[in-house]
């Protein structure tokens, strides 16, 4: 395909996308108006189950099945990426040495931020039913926090605090835990992923029934997934000797 043909093809496609997009945008209710049918339904349902963070109520209670689907997508993506990034052919897995030199200020920042970031991640997961955040966001923070050790240049230390087998198991465990909480609802006769646990007092740590449990399940799964993914990427970049 020659360049002019490609440009014409692009312009036609772009015009089509632009038309559909504009049609969709002008069909939306206006931003900031008081009429909001979804909010009225979702907020009422969240309040009925003492879930202070309405977004969590939607993600982990009202539409928990969607979240199970998304969690499975994360699991599938991590498995796929891990399979693609495994050493193949002439590649072999070597040992890793610590970095020869690291900027002291960067290393210091890595050491200082590591405990802070771990704490923030745990806080996000455990307060998902109360404040913005939750299992997914907290899980990503936890998974990346460990890799602050990478900034300090101590790759061997990073290997020691991040045994891959543990996090591979964590990935499976988190997904299983989510489904297991869903089956509790079935056992109680209320349906898969129904919020059957006592919902507690509004705004307290132990409130919102199954929402905190599902947040922890997603937190474990996403944190493990991020660790497995970044480990595979780091292995490719640092450890695997190519065919050269």
């Amino acid at each position: 395909m020659t360049r002019p043909v490609r440009i014409v093809l692009f312009l036609v496609a772009a015009a089509g996308v632009a038309l559909c997009y504009l049609g969709a945008v002008f069909g939306l209710p206006e931003l900031g108006t008081p009429v909001h049918p979804y909010r009225d339904q979702a907020v009422a349902a969240a309040v009925a189950r003492s879930t202070a963070n309405v977004v969590s109520a939607v993600n982990y209670d009202q539409r928990a099945l969607d979240t199970l689907g998304e969690e499975t997508i994360v699991l599938g993506s991590v498995i796929g990426a891990a399979a693609l990034l495994r050493p193949t052919g002439k590649e072999r897995k070597g040992t890793v040495r610590d970095a020869d030199e690291t900027l002291p200020s960067v290393a210091l920042l890595g050491y200082l931020l590591l405990p802070v970031t771990l704490l923030v991640g745990a806080n996000l997961v455990l307060h998902g039913q109360l404040t913005p955040g939750g299992g997914f966001q907290g899980g990503v923070v936890l998974g990346t926090a460990i890799h602050l050790i990478y900034l300090t240049g101590r790759y061997q230390a990073l290997d020691r605090v991040r045994p891959l087998a543990v996090f591979t198991a964590g990935e499976a465990l988190g997904t299983t835990l989510f489904a297991a909480v869903g089956l509790v609802g079935v056992a109680a006769g209320a349906g898969f992923l129904a919020n059957v646990l006592p919902t507690g007092a509004w705004g307290s740590l132990l409130s919102a029934g199954t929402v905190p449990l599902l947040n922890i399940a997603v937190g474990v799964e996403v944190a493990s997934g991020v660790v497995v993914l970044l480990t595979k990427f780091l292995d490719q970049a640092l450890r695997i000797a190519g065919a050269e």
Partner: protein, 78 residues
């Protein structure tokens, strides 16, 4: 408030254009990270702190890091 949203939208557009206009792939990982930050600000201003957090962690940290690591591996194999 709507002025802040307008400013954030312009910043998103500028940063998005900067990502496309960055020729070097290594540089693109950095502009992509900045673009992720501008989106985070926009989501926060639109009162979606949950989405802003997800965008901050995934879009401004994890994805650029993966891009950098992938580029490092590719350049070593050339």
């Amino acid at each position: 408030m709507s002025l802040a949203i307008a400013v954030a939208l312009v910043l998103v557009a500028l940063a998005g254009t900067a990502v496309v206009a960055t020729a070097a792939a290594e540089g693109q990982a950095v502009t992509l990270s900045v673009y992720g930050l501008t989106l985070t600000v926009l989501f926060f201003l639109l009162q979606a702190p949950d989405v802003a957090l997800a965008q901050l962690t995934v879009g401004a940290a994890v994805v650029p890091l993966m891009v950098m690591l992938a580029l490092r591996t590719i350049s070593r194999h050339r």
